[in-house]
């Protein structure tokens, strides 16, 4: 997920104060000792939005730039439900002699 607004769950027009408050809230929730990856993502997202200049720079030159088909595939894979399948379906994936 590349969009820092989505990572921090913030509106696109959130101001400095709202961004900082949300950041601290999330950092408390996802401490680096227990959620190192999530914490790193929150930190990186905050760096992109922390002040007006950073936000403008991000929107102007970086927004969506790190988006890849791989990350979209990953997202779809994660969202795909783990539906239960029958033995017949399971056996059907094997190569036919």
């Amino acid at each position: 997920m590349d969009d820092p607004h989505v990572v921090l769950d913030l509106a696109a027009d959130a101001d400095d104060e709202a961004i900082r408050r949300r950041y601290l809230e999330l950092v408390r929730q996802f401490a680096p000792e227990h959620h190192p990856e999530k914490f790193a993502a929150i930190r990186a997202a905050y760096e992109r939005l922390r002040d007006r200049n950073a936000r403008v720079r991000y929107r102007l030159l970086e927004a969506g730039r790190k988006e890849t088909i791989e990350s979209i595939v990953e997202e779809i894979t994660c969202r795909s439900s783990r539906r239960r399948v029958s033995l017949k379906t399971l056996l059907s994936i094997l190569p036919k002699p």
Partner: protein, 793 residues
């Protein structure tokens, strides 16, 4: 054949004498055929061998080849043929249990339950029986009703339990399934099916850890492990990484088929297309078919896919912009693709065209400020102007321009690039108008003025920056340097004192402040304001430490001589010349250095002739015995004088004496840092042949240090009145570059690398092949001993 009639291939084959090969030949041919995977041929030859020599060893070989052929056919999916081979093999004159077990195993793997069970009856070893029964269980599971019917009643019960558990798990009745599976004992041939099911239950309950734990216990060659593999591939990173690429692709396909969205195969196709720059058009066509489903099922992913393609166009052709618009519509932040084109042209080095598109984009934002929250539109515009300024300034960078040298060489008239409209300065000013607190623009403007040698404007820009960022240390320091360069030592001191206030413990800033006090003190001495001078000498001393003190004391002594306080002056001279074992945080000041300093001050301040004579004698004595510290210090003083444009009567003669002194010192054991500084000082003194000589010495003694070949090359490049020996300079620059690249990054190294690239570019701006070959721009560096041809000391 004697009749001369044509013989068909089949007849020919039949007529071939079967025993033309000796048994040894046959064995060799059999081995080769097996080794090359030609099992059918190996089988024919082994049959011949066994017929010819029916020994136990040949029978063993025949059995092995039969099994090999059967396995080969099974792996090709030809299980019926494999079973025929096994059937024939079962008539061989051998009824040993080992042989029967092999046959039964292969038959079970081919799915032949009934004949396997018949063979199994002939086995007495329980372990062998168990090994085969698990294969029978797998075969029965695969064959459903027919498989069940072929099983003995005892196994049918376990198979029924597994089938029931599968149905229960599929229906979400996990508890019931668990109870059903309790009936599968540890010795049941269906035990691994139980593990598979437990893993699947955990997987569907999102308990990945438990799923992996169960599946890790499966035998990889058996059917349950193969059925679990796609699920495990999805959740077990280590398992995924351990698979070869072809298996990964197959498992991905299987899991997509079992669990994935129907969008996934299409997206994976896209992924493959986007890996090729020239397939953007095909990728966009593929998106057109995919988008309706994506909009319906996961609309939130559409902007992400659009963003992905938007930036991919940068790697593609401008025609794809039209295709993109047709597929995704206009991007909300760049409806006319001006930004994308600006960035694209920047990437291609077409800065003039990029300038045009950035202006268009800036106007677009200015026309629709409501698209940006708050006052962000003005800031966005300021950023764009700043970027345009940087592009316009970068175009002045010599690295972006062909060098005069090459044009001269080829006899061309240089075609000047058109000026940027608006020019860099105007762009930065416009940016600051829109966002006066944009630090980056202030810094960029400052850099631009310095690069274009406009110190007055740079000073003004620095002061403007400080209005918004009064604690910006780098700018305070820069302002001090600029004031110092134009001789305003009082102002220089003021700025550097402000910088020091920001970081009072910074040793570099303390030293610079001490230097500023010393310079101001010297200016006061010149104008006979001795009290002010003393005050500044004292502050300079307070701020400095170690060897710097002796320099300050020497200058102070000269001040006192001028002020007529001879006793105090002598006292200071003694202090300067004494060697109290001072802590040296910088290079030491040797006595010869103090004598030279005092002499230059006496000459500069036009003091008494007796003093001049005295310090001349001191210097003469000092110069008689060369040493490393003396060589470094004396060249440092002369470099400083040369750089500052300071002259005095006798300077030329002193320079000659110092050069002669360092020539005598050439064989001394210089430390690496001493040699580095000596070379730099000589370069600053414009003593190029000497700089090359010491750079050569440095390169020989410290071959891993990139500074020496770099300084050697610089000593040629900066000596403008001589023809540049490209054959010598270019390989040195390249060697310096490769040595520097091998070092960990730091500011000095990075600066050196940048400078090396700049010079290499200037020497061959078009990267012309013939120049590369002639002067070694490409290929490995040839190491030469670098003896300086014009060693004119």
């Amino acid at each position: 054949m004697a009749t001369g009639e044509p013989v068909s291939k089949k007849q020919k084959h039949k007529q071939r004498p079967t025993s033309t090969y000796s048994p040894e030949d046959l064995r060799q041919r059999i081995d080769r055929a097996r080794h090359e995977g030609r099992f059918q041929q190996a089988l024919e030859l082994t049959k011949q061998l066994h017929k010819h020599e029916p020994t136990p060893a040949n029978l063993e070989l025949l059995k092995e080849v039969y099994l090999g052929r059967a396995r080969q056919l099974r792996s090709q999916g030809k299980t019926c043929d494999a079973l025929t081979v096994l059937e024939v093999a079962s008539h061989l004159p051998d009824a040993s249990e080992a042989w029967l077990e092999h046959l039964a195993q292969e038959m079970a793997l081919c799915g032949e339950i009934r004949r396997t069970l018949i063979l199994l009856d002939k086995l007495s070893e329980p372990a062998s029986v168990q090994r085969i029964l698990v294969q029978v269980a797998d075969a029965a599971m695969q064959q459903e009703a027919a498989g069940r019917a072929a099983l003995p009643p005892a196994l049918q019960a376990d198979l029924d339990r597994i089938l029931l558990a599968f149905a229960q798990v599929e229906a979400g009745q996990d508890e019931a399934a668990r109870e059903t599976l309790q009936g599968i004992g540890l010795r049941s041939p269906f035990l691994e099916w139980k593990l598979l099911l437990r893993g699947l239950q955990a997987y569907w309950q999102n308990d990945d850890e438990r799923a992996i734990e169960n599946w890790q216990r499966l035998t990889p060659e058996r059917l349950p492990a193969r059925l679990a593999a796609p699920f495990r591939f999805r959740i077990d990173a280590a398992f995924r990484a351990a698979q070869p690429p072809a298996t990964q692709a197959m498992l991905q396909k299987q899991i997509d088929c079992l669990q994935g969205s129907p969008l996934l195969p299409q997206l994976r196709n896209l992924q493959a297309l986007l890996a090729h720059k020239d397939k953007m058009a095909a990728a966009l066509r593929q998106v057109e078919t995919l988008l309706p489903t994506l909009r319906q099922q996961m609309p939130q992913l559409v902007p992400r896919l659009a963003a992905c393609f938007y930036w991919q166009i940068l790697e593609s052709t401008p025609e794809d912009i039209l295709r993109y618009r047709r597929v995704f519509g206009s991007p909300p932040d760049d409806p006319n693709f001006y930004r994308l084109q600006a960035i694209g042209y920047e990437k291609a080095g077409e800065l003039h065209v990029a300038h045009h598109y950035w202006q268009q984009y800036e106007q677009e934002i200015a026309a629709h400020p409501q698209e940006w929250p708050g006052d962000q539109a003005a800031h966005a515009r300021a950023f764009i102007w700043q970027r345009m300024g940087q592009n316009a300034a970068a175009a002045l960078d010599p690295r972006r321009q062909p060098s005069r040298r090459l044009f001269d060489l080829l006899g061309f008239e240089e075609e000047k690039p058109p000026p940027f409209n608006p020019p860099a300065e105007k762009c930065f000013e416009k940016s600051l108008e829109l966002a006066p607190d944009l630090l980056e623009t202030h810094e960029a403007l400052l850099r631009y003025y310095l690069a274009t040698d406009q110190p007055a404007k740079a000073e003004k820009a620095a002061q403007q920056l400080l209005q918004h960022f009064p604690h910006h240390v780098a700018t305070l320091e820069l302002l001090s340097d600029l004031c110092r360069k134009r001789g305003d030592y009082a102002a220089a001191l003021g700025w550097i004192e402000q910088a020091l206030k920001e970081n009072a413990l910074d040793r570099r800033l303390r030293r610079k402040t001490s230097d500023a006090h010393l310079l101001l003190a010297r200016a006061y001495v010149e104008s006979d304001h001795f009290e002010e001078a003393r005050r500044h000498f004292q502050t300079a001393l307070d701020l400095s430490s170690g060897s710097d003190n002796r320099m300050i004391l020497a200058h102070w002594a000269a001040c006192e001589f001028k002020a007529g306080a001879a006793a105090r002056a002598e006292e200071l001279v003694q202090q300067a010349q004494a060697n109290p074992g001072e802590p040296t945080d910088g290079p030491p000041v040797p006595p010869v250095g103090v004598s030279y300093l005092l002499l230059t001050e006496v000459l500069r301040l036009k003091l008494d002739r007796a003093l001049k004579k005295r310090f001349q004698e001191d210097l003469k004595r000092g110069l008689a015995t060369p040493n490393q510290d003396g060589a470094v210090f004396l060249t440092r003083i002369l470099a400083g004088l040369h750089q500052g444009g300071v002259t005095y009567f006798g300077k030329k003669s002193h320079t000659q004496k110092v050069l002669s002194y360092i020539h005598q010192a050439r064989d001394l054991d210089f430390r690496e840092t001493q040699l580095e500084e000596l070379c730099r000082n000589l370069l600053d003194m414009e003593a190029y042949p000497q700089a090359r000589r010491f750079a050569n010495i440095g390169e020989q003694r410290y071959p891993e240090n990139p500074v020496f070949p770099y300084l050697y090359a610089l000593a040629w490049i900066q000596q403008r009145n001589r023809n540049l020996p490209m054959w010598d300079v270019v390989p040195r620059l390249k060697r310096a570059r490769s040595l520097a690249q091998a070092q960990p990054p730091n500011e000095c190294r990075d600066h050196m690398l940048e400078d090396i690239d700049k010079h290499l570019h200037e020497l061959n701006p078009f990267a012309l092949d013939f120049l590369s070959r002639m002067f070694g721009f490409d290929g490995d560096d040839e190491d030469d001993d670098g003896d300086d041809a014009d060693d004119d000391w």
